[in-house]
Amino acid sequence: MQIFHRSFNTISKASIVGLVLLLVAIGAAATAMFRSPYATRATEPITQPVPFSHKHHVNGLGVDCRYCHTTVETAAFADIPPIETCMSCHSQIWVDSPMLEPVRRSFRTGEPLEWVRVHDLPDFVYFDHSIHVNKGVGCVTCHGQVDQMPLTWQQNSLYMEWCLECHRQPEAFVRPRDKVFDMTWQPPRDQLALGRKLVKDYKIRSLTDCTTCHR
């Protein structure tokens, strides 16, 4: 006696295949979501206590990165400028702007401003700006075109796989040292040829040991 109808053969086969496909699809979706800006917060402008615009200061006024991020060439931390730096201009211009009141208040009272971190690596990662800048990694390579950001956002995922893209193949990303702070530099057509030359000239090593970043 037959309990199940013949069509159940097809249905069961289909559902087995379907289940596998479903699992694969869920996995793929999860992976995609893990890498998506939803999870990485990339390209999401961050609200700050003062709506500071890199676009205005860098693109509009032509202020160099290092005017504010003073230690980017010497230390691990690129430094968030002290209020004193803001006030070096804003004690002269836009002195009455209500938008800048938190800055002036901070300068008056000595109470620091609390900015929200845009690029926040996990605490077990020890990143050093100075060595990257010295070896020809441009600001734009990691931070994107900051000069086009009215409010700053994180351009890249900052995932380890993203770091390793360059650590495994630095020649694909490095640029001449004098172009590091250039916001508009575009890699040439033969970037790999240029990269290989720079890797040789700057003695860049592809460091992929765990302790390069984790310790």
């Binding site: 968030i80 300068f107 620091p112 100075s130």
Partner: protein, 1010 residues
């Protein structure tokens, strides 16, 4: 461990040791006896309790929890990081680059002597201490106490407020209350006004006290320090008529005799002495090896004794006769048998010893040194001075110097006078600074009892301790990293003690208190600065001040060297006590036991008792943590049928205390040692209820030893947390040692025992031909086992403490441990100290078993541990033949006490529960050096990367560097024939950390004895 433990059959052990041929190394008596307990330790990766389920949750509940956590585990990864703030300065401080540490010179004082330090500051937080290379007491390295001082700074248990009989008051309320008191003393010249301090090494504070005494001529200044140097002061007084300062130059000495002195590991002064000693200890050119020779006569066990070429263990009462006999032998000329007329050194062995030592000393006139221990009698000191004078060592290996400040007080007399006056009602107001006399004063003086008769009692100390509880006012004292001061080193060199941080807990400095006692309040900075301004008048003071701060030493402040003139007849040849007049010591009955009091090797006189790093630091020879014990010789334990951890009652001069027994091979027979500093009743969460109070037995007339002790077995047992059996390496030979003579004969002796077969490996070869390949050598000849490296590692690498219960479960977290091996007889074994840390094997057994690749190999040969990948299988630890991996069984790192968060080194991850960790070769320092070198486009220089343990090592036993560079120091050391890798031949692990076999330089005339 509460089950009845049979005392070990020590007689059988002796037989076994005698029968064994060749060198057999053992770490504990249990190991030697192969007791079931020890076997269990050995065969389980973690001892019984470690895998025991001691939670209230039952099995079902546990499985339910496990299921739920497994289901939820994945979800944890789905959360995004919380938004973090970044807060810049409003006006940045000068010189500060965020993320880069700054180093400031400062100094720490202990027992009246200072060691110059460099304190590392991260964004205003002092996190690590290094030695100041320009300071004479340090020359770069440090001791364990200075390394641990940063933890004391952030200790949340420190006194945080001014209080009056337990009620919170303010500093200004205290000043107001005091000013009305002071007004009264103005009229009577300060009668009844007393000041009690510890030994004062600060010239400014000295001057302040002298000024205060001028203001109140009837007032008195008393000094008390439980670990005092009275004998040192009295010894020079006996010989030279006045108290003189003197110190040693061990780099000039070829033969050193220690009469009960732990000179190489004395707190503070031992750092320089050990460094100087090691200079002469290293063989130098392997073709023409030379070594100094060290004889130690001592009662208890000390690090100096453990590295001696010849060590004689005698009862404390025998040291003085021994010194007498040695002087006699020296006087009667090296040709005679010496000591023939000696009355007390009565055994043949002692006589032979004396004759041989005297001959050796006489053969090295001007290059020898006799050192009397701070804990011996004044007479022994006087004898040592006479011997050094006779040997022409004065001005060569012993240097005398003039001190500008008044001579140090004889503290016991000072304390006796104070308590006498207190008892007689002659003390109205007592101001105590820094000291804890209720706990530390000699028991027979009854300080606590007489304190009640004092009307007004003011106490300033870092903790609310036993004394504070009996005083009217308590003032929180600043830590040396919080406030300005100055301090003198052993040779007089002054250093400005520079603060690195504002007082964390509203602390007040002794300078401020003194200012308030004698006039209007002043800031400490002004007080110290104006003192030096007075001593350096002139327009260029600012430059002098800045230079002194920058260098960490003040130019021209060393004491002037002098040639002391003996007041006793120089030509006196008898050497009898008539020449060096003295009071008779209390008669010692040879039939009773003697008791020895010593400062604890980890917590000193008790002042570091609330420092968990020091509490958990295994004590150098006993390897005990978190407790003191009654140390005795195996022979005594045998006679009294005592086993380790048996509680005994010590009855001594009508006072009693109970403590647990610990048998120490090499301890002199007929006496027991107790360490001071435990048995505290107040002073922080860490200290209370640990060990027993040895001060309660200690009397003023014989502070360091005495006879008439009765040891009574109580039948109770007390568990001690001892680490010596932990991390055992099943019967494998890890240490290799020999003698200088053997080395001369056969430079390759260290490799003779092991069959050297060409290593073959199934694993693929790594390519190490890159720029750097890191390696380390540790010289077992130079290692004293002083523990400075262990604490330095703990401070540098954010290593947590686990507590006594967890230590007993073998869960201590130290990345670097010092294994102490015995070899030879049970009663006076030879000792080898071996620092053991991750060996960074080129063929690492741990790497191949990790299922998640959390421990991997770097291109520079480091064995890397990636905390974030670790899932805690512990396979790696199981497979590590060196047992150097540590697992966070629980959440050991304190992430809740706010002040302790400031302590962490920001360059090293703070590990959580469930993660394996181990020595990284201080990879954060390698990274920092690499980045700097690459920015300057040059290779990393030799000596640019200094690991924390290496930097702290007083004898420079640890050397680290690039083995690919044939000119690096480490590469050269690795070429020495003494160089060997632990288990290299057996397991082919190819460790990057290698050892230089330990050498001793015994006198051939005495060799048959050891």
């Amino acid at each position: 461990m509460d089950k009845e433990q049979k005392p070990l059959d020590l007689a059988a052990l002796r037989e076994r040791l005698k029968a064994s041929n060749g060198r057999e190394y053992w770490r504990s008596l249990e190991e030697l006896a192969q007791t079931p307990e020890f076997e269990e330790y050995l065969h389980r990766e973690f001892p019984e309790q470690a895998s025991m389920w001691d939670s209230a949750v039952d099995r079902r509940g546990f499985l339910r929890l496990m299921g739920a956590s497994l289901a939820l585990a994945g979800l944890g990864a789905c959360t995004t990081q919380p938004l973090e703030k970044v807060i810049p300065y409003v006006r940045p401080p000068e010189h500060l680059i965020p993320g880069k540490p700054l180093f400031f010179t400062t100094a720490m004082t202990l027992g009246g002597r200072a060691i110059g330090l460099l304190a590392e500051s991260h964004m205003g937080r002092p996190t690590k201490i290094e030695g100041n290379p320009s300071h004479p007491a340090s020359l770069g390295p440090t001791d364990a106490f200075s390394q641990a001082s940063v933890l004391s700074l952030y200790d949340p248990d420190r006194a945080q407020v001014v209080s009056q009989r337990g009620r919170i008051r303010s500093w200004s309320a205290f000043q107001l209350a005091l000013s009305s008191e002071v007004a009264g003393f103005k009229n009577n010249g300060g009668r009844g006004l007393r000041l009690l301090t510890e030994s004062v090494s600060s010239p400014t504070l000295q001057a302040q006290i002298q000024d205060w005494l001028k203001l109140y001529p009837q007032a008195r200044w008393h000094q008390w320090e439980p670990v005092h140097q009275d004998s040192r002061v009295q010894g020079t007084r006996q010989i030279y008529g006045r108290a003189l300062n003197f110190f040693h130059r061990l780099d000039q000495a070829r033969v050193v005799v220690s009469l009960g002195s732990d000179l190489l590991c004395e707190p503070v002064t031992g750092v320089r002495d050990a460094g100087d000693f090691a200079q002469r200890r290293r063989i130098g050119d392997p073709a023409k090896p030379e070594m100094n020779r060290l004889y130690v006569i001592e009662s208890t066990v000390s690090n100096t004794g453990s590295v001696a070429d010849h060590r004689l263990a005698v009862k404390p009462s025998e040291i003085e006769p021994f010194a007498n006999a040695l002087l006699e032998a020296l006087q009667s000329g090296s040709e005679s048998t010496g000591g023939a007329r000696s009355t007390a050194a009565d055994t043949d062995k002692h006589q032979r010893w004396i004759a041989v030592v005297a001959r050796d000393l006489a053969a090295h006139r001007g290059e020898s040194l006799v050192v009397a221990g701070d804990h011996e009698t004044a007479h022994v000191h006087a004898l040592a001075h006479r011997m050094n004078s006779l040997l022409g060592n004065i001005g060569k290996t012993v240097v005398f110097a003039e001190t500008p400040e008044p001579a140090p007080a004889v503290m016991t007399d000072s304390m006796r006078q104070l308590t006498g006056d207190m008892a007689g009602g002659r003390v109205d107001t007592l101001v105590i600074i820094g000291s804890n006399p209720v706990y530390t004063a000699p028991a027979d003086l009854g300080f606590a009892q007489h304190l009640g008769k004092v009307r007004l009692k003011v106490h300033m100390s870092p903790y609310v301790d036993e004394t504070s509880r009996l005083c009217d006012w308590h003032l929180p004292q600043t830590h040396f990293l919080e406030e300005w001061s100055d301090a003198r080193a052993f040779d007089g060199t002054a250093t400005i003690v520079q603060p690195l941080i504002q007082p964390l807990f509203q602390g007040i400095s002794p300078h401020e208190l003194l200012a308030v006692l004698s006039g209007p309040p002043q800031s400490t900075h002004d007080i110290v600065r104006s003192y030096w301004q007075k001593s350096r008048p002139g327009p260029d003071f600012e430059r002098f001040w800045v230079k002194s701060l920058n260098d960490g030493v003040i130019e021209g402040t060393q004491y002037a060297e002098m040639q002391p003139a003996a007041t006793t007849a120089a030509g006196d040849q008898t050497g009898q006590p008539s020449a060096v007049s003295r009071q008779q010591p209390p008669a010692r009955d040879a039939s009773t036991l003697e008791i020895i009091f010593r400062p604890d090797p980890s917590i000193y006189d008790g002042r570091f008792a609330n420092n968990a790093w020091l509490q958990e630091l295994p004590k150098p020879l006993t390897k005990l943590t978190w407790d003191n014990a009654v140390l005795c010789s195996p022979a005594l334990a045998e006679r009294l049928e005592l086993a380790n951890e048996d509680v005994v009652e010590l009855q001594y001069r009508g006072r009693k205390v109970k403590g647990a027994i610990w048998i120490v091979p090499g301890h002199a027979d007929g006496c027991v040692t107790v360490h001071l500093g435990y048995g505290r009743e107040a002073g922080g969460r860490v200290v209370e209820g640990l060990g027993f109070n040895a001060y309660s037995l200690r009397t003023a007339d014989s502070p360091w030893s005495g006879s008439g002790l009765v040891v009574k077995k109580t039948g109770e047992r007390y568990p001690l947390a001892c680490t010596q059996g932990h991390w055992s390496l099943e019967g494998r030979t890890n240490v290799r040692s020999g003698t200088l003579a053997r080395f001369r004969e056969d430079p390759d002796f260290a490799h003779a025992a092991a069959a050297h077969h060409p290593p073959a490996s199934l694993y693929p070869e790594y390519d190490y031909r890159g720029e750097n390949a890191w390696g380390m050598t540790i010289d077992l000849t130079a290692c004293l086992g002083c523990n400075a490296c262990v604490v330095a590692c703990q401070a540098e690498n954010n290593v947590p403490v686990v507590g006594k219960v967890e230590v007993a479960r073998q869960r201590e977290m130290h990345w670097l441990r010092i294994d102490r091996y015995y070899t030879g007889s049970l009663d006076n074994p030879e000792v080898v100290h071996q620092p053991m840390l991750c060996q960074h094997c080129e063929k690492a057994p741990c790497e191949v078993v990790c299922p998640v690749a959390a421990t991997v190999h770097s291109s520079e040969g480091l064995n890397e541990m990636v905390y974030n990948r670790c899932v805690g299988t512990r396979y790696c630890s199981n497979n590590c033949p060196y047992k150097v991996r540590r697992f966070n069984f629980l959440q050991y790192s304190d992430q809740s006490s706010p002040s302790l968060q400031l302590l962490h080194n920001p360059d090293v991850t703070v590990r959580d529960r469930g993660v394996m960790e181990k020595c990284t070769y201080c990879v954060q320092r390698i990274s920092a050096a690499r980045i700097e070198a690459k920015k300057e486009d040059r290779p990393i220089r030799d000596g640019e990367v200094v690991t924390a343990c290496q930097a702290a090592c007083p004898t420079q036993a640890i050397v680290f560097g690039n083995i690919n560079d044939p000119n690096s120091k480490v590469a050269k050391l690795k070429k020495l024939p003494l160089n060997y890798g632990v288990l290299e031949e057996e397991l082919n692990t190819r460790p990057r950390t290698t050892y230089l076999a330990g050498l001793k330089n015994p006198n051939p005339e005495l060799e048959s004895e050891t």
